[in-house]
Structure formats: C-alpha cells, structure tokens
Symmetry: C2
Subunit: 194 residues, 2 copies
C-alpha cells in the first residue's frame, strides 16, 4: 500500500490511523511546522476532514500522535542490533547523527520541539530520552545505575543532540570527529558520575 | 516605578516597552504558556490592546521580545562577576541551577521552548547559548577555541540544562552533587575535545 496515493478504500481503523500518521510525518518532513496541516492530510488520504477527526478527536491529538511516531522512528533507526558494546555505541551514535543531520528541520520541530512544549508533549520527549538512556546504560553494562549516573547519561544525550545540531554549522567538525567526541565524553561522564 | 500597578501615566516608548515585557515575564512566570496573554497584559498595564500593538505590531513580536528578555535575564543572573576561574565556574553553575530550578516552568516554556520553535526563536536560543559558551570558554582560558571545542562546550551547556531539569525528579541528586557533576564533566569535555 502506498500511503501517498489518494485512496477512498476502506481501511480498518488501525491501518487508517497509521496511514494518517505516516502522511503527517511525510508532510512535516517537507514543511516542518509546529502545526500539522490537517486539511492537506485529509486530502492526501482521500478522506474528509470530519473522518480524520473521527480517528483523532482534535488537531492536538493528531499532533501528539505524529510527534510520538517521530520519536519512535528515531529510537528504531538508532537501534544498533546485537554487537559488542563499543560497536553498539558507535553504530547507534552514527545512525543518530545521520538521521538528525538528514532530517534536521523535522527533528527540531517535532522531537526537540516537544521538550519545550506543553506537559503532554514533554512526556513524549521524556519517554524517548528515557529509552535512549536505558539503551546507553545497557551498553555501558550499568542497567542498575543510581540517580546520579542516570541524570548524567540523560545530560550526555542532550550533549549528543546539541553537538549533532551544532557541528554542521561550524564547518570544522566532520562526522567521525563528532562521533569520536560523543564517545569520549561518555567515558568522561562515567568517570564524573562514578 | 512599579510595573504591576495599573497606570495610565504617559511613559516614553522605551519605558513602556520595558514595562510591557516585564509584565509579560511576570504573567508567564505564574502561568507559563507558549502564548503571551495579550489582553491580560494590556489590562495590567492600564493601556488598550490597540496601544500594546502600537509597541509590538503583532502578538508574535511581543512573544519574541518576552523570550529575548527571559534569555537576557538568565545570562545576567548567572554572571559570576570577577573571581578566580574555578570560583567563576562554580558561581555561575550554582546561579543557573538555582534560577532554573525556581523558575522551571518559565524556563521550559520560554528558553528551552525557543530551541524547538520557529527560526526566529531558534536564533534567540542560539544567541543565548552562544553567550554562555563564550563565558565558559573565557573561564577556561580558551577564548580562541577551535570548532571542535566550541561545539563540545555548547554540548556541555545542553548537558547542564538537562541535568538541572532532571535531577530534582530523581530525588537522589542534590544541588552540590549536581554542580560537582557539571564541573567534572566540563573537565572531561575539555579532555575529549583537546
């Protein structure tokens, strides 16, 4: 099924919901904005605005669903799969840097945007950061970490985000140097919180 | 002059602008939101909505002015004044942690919120982070730092933000432990980018 082809086919509710969210992500990837363009999405899905609101009672519900999907996608594309710890760390950092660099505007509008938005979107952001933190602690062999190391690892994730967004603007830090830096700082964070 | 007392006095344009921004900050500190409540502000300033729009042509202009003021206030309250480098670092981190902890909702809505908003607000956020980065590099005696260290220090500032917002939620990291962590990670960042 191509979600971009206008269709008036009947879809079961879950499939329709997924189709609409996917359309939302695709449209926002081209034209990032804090607002999902509801009319455009109903049009591209070949359904009425009213039917869209049947699946997502408010614009806001739809926006939260799209942000959640963007966050889940990011967690998925950065999953390093099974490998030795150092390789898992490197792979997930490279995948993160590549995804965020290629989808910068979408990332900033949806994922980073959620961090400073209302409580519901902050919860989506926190959950995502929490999942990245669990993955990092797992890679470090410290799934049982105490509060200081947990907070420190969340801080490191914020550093990974900021350096990834900043490096391309400086023109002087390439992908390998960036990932090296992120890896080395994690070692420093472990020591600082140890 | 008390900005909170309703007044129909004539104020010169700069004073009026400052009064309105100050009211905006004060109202948002009590009820943080992505939207500045224009009607409420005009009412508290004792001016008409129309006159408010004379000073700030759009709601958006006013919002940008309030976010800019919030960011400048943060730069000011964290200024450590003259002291030896280590003391300057400690003082500015303590002031930052105290301010952000006490004004958490305002900080998240206005300062962090700007990082994921539209281009104009992102520029305000970037300028603020840039000023903090200059200060940190100055304290480190590295005002001439190259792109890697600059990016790394910006990343460290993101870590300082995230750990400050996260620590109170864990219940297990007090102010001293938090600032210690932030200081130690900066040493690690210097080494990693060195």
């Amino acid at each position: 099924m191509s979600a971009s082809a206008p269709t008036r086919r009947r879809l079961d509710p879950d499939a329709r919901r997924r189709q609409l969210i996917e359309l939302g992500l695709r449209l926002l990837a081209r034209h990032p904005s804090a607002e999902v363009p509801i009319d455009r999405i109903a049009e591209e899905a070949g359904i009425s605005r009213g039917l869209l609101f049947h699946y997502f009672p408010t614009k806001r519900d739809f926006h939260v669903a799209v942000v959640t999907a963007a966050a889940e996608l990011l967690v998925d594309v950065t999953d390093p799969g099974p490998a030795p710890p150092e390789e898992r760390l490197r792979r997930s950092l490279e995948a993160y840097v590549d995804y965020v660099t290629e989808n910068r505007d979408l990332y900033v509008a949806l994922v980073r945007g959620a961090a400073g938005a209302d409580e519901e979107l902050q919860r989506v952001f926190d959950r995502t950061r929490g999942r990245f933190a669990e993955r990092a602690l797992d890679i470090l062999g410290r799934p049982d970490a105490g509060p200081l190391l947990r907070t420190a690892v969340r801080g490191w994730l914020a550093l990974v985000e900021e350096t990834t967004l900043d490096a391309p603007r400086t023109g002087g830090v390439d992908r390998a140097a960036l990932v090296d830096l992120q890896e080395r700082v994690l070692a420093g964070v472990l020591e600082a919180a140890g």
